[in-house]
């Protein structure tokens, strides 16, 4: 049985599920796999790790692969808030260990660090990007208005108007220009702000296994990034990772790292390729070779 952990509204879940079923493979979509009516047992002892999983009161099933698109939020209905928070933590802890112990393809088999902090801003990825030889846009984090203003001045002198003020906790950003520095200084009276060098148009790419999938043909400069992008995914322990690149003053830079790739960032043709490659990763012995030209 191939398990897809997530929701049908997620095009990635729906697409992979459809492909697995089209290949005649048993597949099941589940939002919270360790919740009743499913039964599971994860056991670690001197003989190693064993896991058992049943969809209901029936017999245990063999799991052939798991696509993880959700960490399994349980419905709060019927729970006291404190009990729900506790039980949510227990489910998440159990699911992380269960996925880590499965002896089949799991995409992504997350580390604890990414499992519990999946929404890291680009700033947090900087050490790993450097380690993989990848550029990131110049970034300043400061609560000092003069430092912020000087950064804006350097960018302007280099012909780059404004700076991008980026939230470190939410997926929002604003372009701040010359008229915005006073308002920015007011925010800096309360918290450091993150300012990023504006970049050119973004180009998304998706790393699936050992393949980097670009929208349309990659340029030579983009191809030259591929070893670094593959290292990035490998170092992070991920085999499904979205990045976006864009031109910066110092060259082609990575401007987004997303361990939960979003298909709506890609055009329809690229989406299909990502889903096909992802499905191959989950069911490698069931590739539909004859369907390809």
């Amino acid at each position: 049985m191939h398990l897809v952990l997530g929701h049908l509204q997620d095009a990635c879940c729906a697409g992979v599920l459809a492909r697995l079923e089209a290949r005649g493979l048993p597949a099941r979509l589940m939002a919270t796999p360790l919740e009743s009516p499913a039964r599971f047992a994860w056991r670690l002892d001197g003989d190693g790790l064993t896991t058992h999983f049943a969809l209901d009161d029936g017999p245990s099933i063999d799991i052939d692969s798991v696509l993880v698109r959700s960490t399994g939020w349980i419905d709060p209905d019927g729970w006291e808030p404190a009990d729900h928070a506790y039980m949510q933590s227990e489910f998440q802890a159990a699911l992380l260990a269960w996925l880590a112990g499965l002896n089949c393809p799991v995409v992504n088999r997350s580390s604890a660090a990414l499992w519990y902090r999946p929404l890291n801003p680009l700033l947090v990825w900087q050490p790993l990007l450097r380690r993989c030889g990848l550029l990131a846009p110049e970034t300043v984090v400061t609560d000092d208005p003069d430092t912020a203003y000087a950064f804006g001045g350097r960018l302007e002198a280099a012909g780059v108007p404004g700076a991008v003020c980026t939230s470190l906790t939410r997926d929002i950003a604003w372009l701040v220009g010359r008229s915005d520095w006073i308002g920015l200084a007011a925010v800096q009276g309360r918290t450091p702000v993150c300012l990023v060098e504006p970049h050119g148009q973004t180009r998304p790419a998706c790393i699936v296994g050992r393949e980097v999938i670009w929208e349309s043909s990659p340029s030579p400069e983009e191809i030259s990034l591929e070893p670094g992008l593959l290292s990035l995914a490998a170092e992070a322990g991920l085999n499904f990772l979205e990045v976006a690149t864009a031109s910066s003053r110092r060259g082609l830079a990575v401007v987004l790292v997303e361990p939960l790739p979003r298909l709506d960032h890609f055009d329809p043709v690229t989406r299909e390729k990502i889903l096909d490659t992802l499905t191959d990763l989950l069911a490698p012995s069931h590739r539909v070779q004859e369907a390809r030209p």
Partner: protein, 320 residues
């Protein structure tokens, strides 16, 4: 220069500062109870690690001059929010400030006690148990399940069980007594973690870089941390570890890129050693006071001696 970030009322942080003073090692204190109020960051990433400075109410340090960082993040109860902002706004701004500080500390090239990433495994005890076995530890037979029948079968097989939370939420370790066995049907509401009860004496190991401080704990309590609550005594003394156990302690700390960790072990009457968990932010004060083991001095030396004194932290564990 050493940067200490923590709560002014946190006794472990207070001890670290006191020990740095005793040793004559210069340090600056970043008060996380008030941060970001009264503190500031000016850091720039331009192809390399961060450059710039960090400052407190009456001090400023160039990031390049920071040779070591000791950090103990606080829960919300230890934090002051500005009174002139709506709580939701203040909480949002503080989260921004915290993320900025964490990202900065994670990316400093000096020893950081501790970087966040490696410690995240403590939020899933069974996941961490897997890592412990890979590091060479023996862990008690463990079952995580939502299946009452599986729990009953495990009990019948193992004889005596304890249960505790699988997550990082602190729970008191309890034996599975007949009353609890009657409630196993409730597992259908959510999973729980069971372990074979392992008799013996607890040994807490604190790692500081490659140095180990092992403390033997004598108590009749199942969970000695709560012994006094149950009217039971606790005695502690410094002890030695077998070479293989010491090696596993160093390995798990290295694997998790933790320069300082608290490792919970138990030695059975037969001389077998079991590991229960690794705490990435250990409150070692209790053990140091009971035994006189120089844990805080070792920490001070590690922070002072910088990169030459510790295993290389790549920072990759933050994401791996």
């Amino acid at each position: 220069m050493i940067l200490v970030a923590g709560g002014i009322a946190d006794k472990v942080t207070e001890l670290v500062c006191a020990r740095l003073n005793d040793c004559g090692y210069a340090h600056r204190f970043l008060d996380l109870g008030r941060y970001p109020s009264g503190h500031g960051i000016a850091a720039r990433w331009a192809g390399a690690g961060p450059e710039g400075s960090i400052h407190g109410p009456d001090w400023q340090v160039d990031l390049a001059d920071i040779g070591g960082v000791y950090v103990r993040f606080l829960g919300p109860e230890g934090r002051l929010l500005p009174a002139d902002l709506a709580p939701a706004t203040a909480t949002t701004l503080r989260a921004e400030a915290d993320t900025a500080l964490m990202a900065l500390l994670e990316d400093l090239p000096c020893p950081v006690v501790n970087r966040l990433g490696g410690g995240m495994s403590n939020n899933s005890k069974p996941y961490q148990a897997l890592l412990l076995t890979r590091a060479g530890f023996r862990v008690p037979p463990t079952l995580v399940t939502n299946d009452p029948d599986a729990a009953r079968a495990f009990l019948a097989e193992q004889g005596e069980l304890i249960y505790k939370s699988a997550s990082g939420i602190r729970s008191i370790v309890r034996r599975l007594d007949p009353e609890q066995v009657d409630r196993l049907g409730l597992l259908r509401n959510g999973p729980a973690q069971f372990q074979r009860f392992v008799p013996g004496q607890d040994v807490r190991v604190h790692t500081v870089g490659e140095r180990l401080f092992a403390t033997r704990v004598r108590s009749k309590a199942v969970d000695y941390r709560y012994a006094r609550r149950d009217g039971l005594a606790v005695e502690m003394e410094a002890t030695e570890l077998p070479a293989s156990v010491a090696s596993a302690c160093r390995r798990i700390a290295r694997d998790l890129e933790l320069l300082h960790a608290g490792i919970d072990l138990r030695e059975t009457p037969e001389g077998d050693w079991y590991c229960f968990e690794v705490n990435p932010c250990p409150g070692f004060l209790y053990y140091e006071r009971q035994t006189g083991q120089p844990i805080s001095t070792a920490l001070a030396e590690l922070l002072h001696n910088g990169v030459a004194a510790v295993p290389k932290q790549t920072g990759v564990a933050a994401l791996r």
